[in-house]
């Protein structure tokens, strides 16, 4: 098994930390992982993206031009990454703020209204975990117990009290993801 994923959105949406939690979850079940962020000027107020690879084998290139799954969280990222999904691959997006919806017919497209659900849950910070829950529903690559361990590893101890809320957001995401 190798899953090559791009997660792309605005800086501040939790794109990088979502990728990190996914990578840590992979480590918790003995997978090989890589996490390669965009860095530099585009991080500062602009778009942010991270390539995450989970695999049972040694990972070759951490930088890719085609992905099994694209998780897209803003319009700029849609413009840039819709075309990078492999034929037969998966595109997951939050329609909030999207003006041009994905149009490819050779891939599976799903939507997750994570921004709306996070607002309903009363915490905008759970946004990225709702998206992660949706992704894991579509691609159950890591067991929930390992996601919980991954959260504990990637969050500093002072934030461990937030783990139950994050797990709740992951469950929420899995519930509300829909096929387009």
């Amino acid at each position: 098994m190798t899953e090559e994923i791009i997660i792309a959105g605005f800086g501040g949406q939790g794109v990088l930390s979502m990728g990190k939690i996914l990578a840590y979850s992979g480590i918790m079940q003995n997978q090989e992982v890589s996490w390669m962020p965009s860095y530099g000027p585009e991080m500062r107020g602009g778009t942010a993206n991270v390539t995450v690879i989970l695999s049972d084998e040694r990972i070759s290139s951490p930088i890719l031009n085609q992905f099994d799954t694209a998780i897209i969280l803003n319009q700029q990222s849609m413009d840039k990454f819709e075309k990078t999904v492999k034929p037969g691959g998966t595109l997951l997006y939050d329609p909030n703020g999207i003006t041009k919806h994905p149009s490819r017919t050779d891939i599976q497209i799903y939507k997750i209204t994570a921004a709306e659900a996070a607002a309903q849950m009363g915490s905008a910070k759970t946004f990225n975990m709702i998206v992660l829950g949706a992704f894991l529903k579509l691609k159950p690559l890591v067991k929930m117990e390992n996601v919980e361990k991954g959260l504990a590893k990637s969050l500093p101890a002072r934030h461990h009290k937030l783990i139950p809320m994050n797990m709740e957001a992951i469950t929420k995401g899995a519930e509300i993801v829909e096929k387009v």
Binding site: Y24, W35, M36, I63, N65
Partner: protein
């Protein structure tokens, strides 16, 4: 037991330095390697192992602090990225001349000048052919993973002290910034002053009771003596070439074509090997791990087997010259590169193999 962590390459290098029992880190921030200094400042090893962590006033100051620490037989490290490494070059030449051990990390970004903060491999010439003035070589280690960013701290010091010579770890923005799983070695206790004095009889650890003063210098005004010193250095570099060449091969046994690539380009080529083989093109990868000493003999050993060699580098064609020298016209060699901070994609690499080597 070894500890498993998810870390950035820069952080892994810093953590490995603490665990290797390093005595001092002297640096100055620059993207894309600032996490080395940030991580060390956050970990505060000076409270645990006694390791000094110091942000110097400039790169020039940092490399001269390294010179001072190394002269005392201490394990000392500095890190920077391309423009900062250029500033350190005078000090690096002095370290080589004075035969001082040190580990220097360059997380390469695009140049020339201030260039870009994105990844590049355009400092290959600078690292392997001198960079500073005078007839000297650095041992140059090229990590291709976060694990190697950690491992090459220990290896770097082993080589630096064995040969009394500075070692450069030539990384790039990809390896520095990416996170991967890394297994960390257990903490090594820093050497005591007595241990340093016993293990480094050349170091300036105090005036010996009976015996000559120990002098660390790169200055010799008597040309006859300087020539003897130059011969000594050259013999050392020859020994390093014989003893310390390291490389890795992937899919080379049945290969009709060969990629030669180091660092993050080698990772991209691994993917390109998979893509090309799925298309029926039998290509392998030879990854130099040491850039000096360069695995010339290993590359030449494929010159009868393969129909062509493509070097893939994030520069305008630097290592390709060493590959051409290695095979000496026996097989076609071409270069494919992206630069200015652009990272080649695996598909582009396969296409370059098809157009420059197979169809070229």
């Amino acid at each position: 037991m070894k500890e498993l962590k998810l870390m950035k390459g820069n952080e892994a290098f810093a953590e490995a330095a603490i665990r290797a029992g390093v005595d001092g880190y002297f640096g100055y921030p620059i993207t894309p390697q600032s996490e080395v200094l940030e991580y060390l400042m956050a970990q505060k090893p000076y409270e645990q192992t006694g390791m000094v962590v110091l942000q110097a006033e400039s790169e020039v100051a940092a490399i001269n602090m390294v010179y001072g620490g190394a002269a005392c037989g201490k394990k000392v490290v500095t890190s920077s990225s391309s423009p900062g490494i250029s500033l350190k070059m005078e000090g690096i030449s002095y370290l080589a001349g004075a035969e001082l051990p040190a580990v220097i990390l360059n997380v390469v970004r695009g140049g020339p000048g201030l260039g870009t903060i994105q990844p590049s491999q355009s400092d290959y010439f600078q690292a392997t052919k001198g960079g500073g003035h005078g007839d000297y070589r650095l041992i140059v280690l090229a990590p291709a993973s976060v694990q190697e960013m950690a491992d090459f701290v220990g290896l770097g010091f082993d080589l630096a002290f064995k040969y009394r010579t500075p070692v450069m770890v030539l990384s790039d923005g990809v390896i520095g910034q990416m996170m991967e799983k890394v297994e960390l070695e257990p903490q090594v206790t820093r050497r005591t002053n007595e241990e340093v004095a016993a293990q480094c009889p050349w170091a300036t650890t105090g005036r010996p009771v009976n015996g000559p003063h120990r002098i660390i210098t790169s200055l010799e005004l008597d040309s006859a003596k300087q020539e003897i010193h130059n011969h000594k250095l050259q013999n050392k570099y020859k020994e390093i070439e014989e003893q310390e060449t390291r490389f890795e091969t992937i899919g080379c046994d049945d290969a009709d074509y060969l990629f030669v690539a180091f660092g993050s380009s080698a990772r991209i080529c691994q993917k390109a090997v998979q893509i090309a083989r799925a298309k029926g093109i039998k290509v392998g990868l030879l990854r130099p791990i040491t850039l000096f000493p360069f695995p010339s003999k290993a590359i030449d050993s494929y010159s009868k087997q393969v129909k062509g060699i493509l070097t893939v580098e994030m520069n305008a064609g630097q290592m390709v010259e060493d590959v051409m020298l290695a095979v000496n016209g026996k097989v076609k060699v071409a270069h494919f590169g992206r630069f200015g901070g652009i990272i080649p994609t695996p598909d582009e690499v396969v296409k370059a193999l098809e157009t420059k080597i197979i169809g070229g």
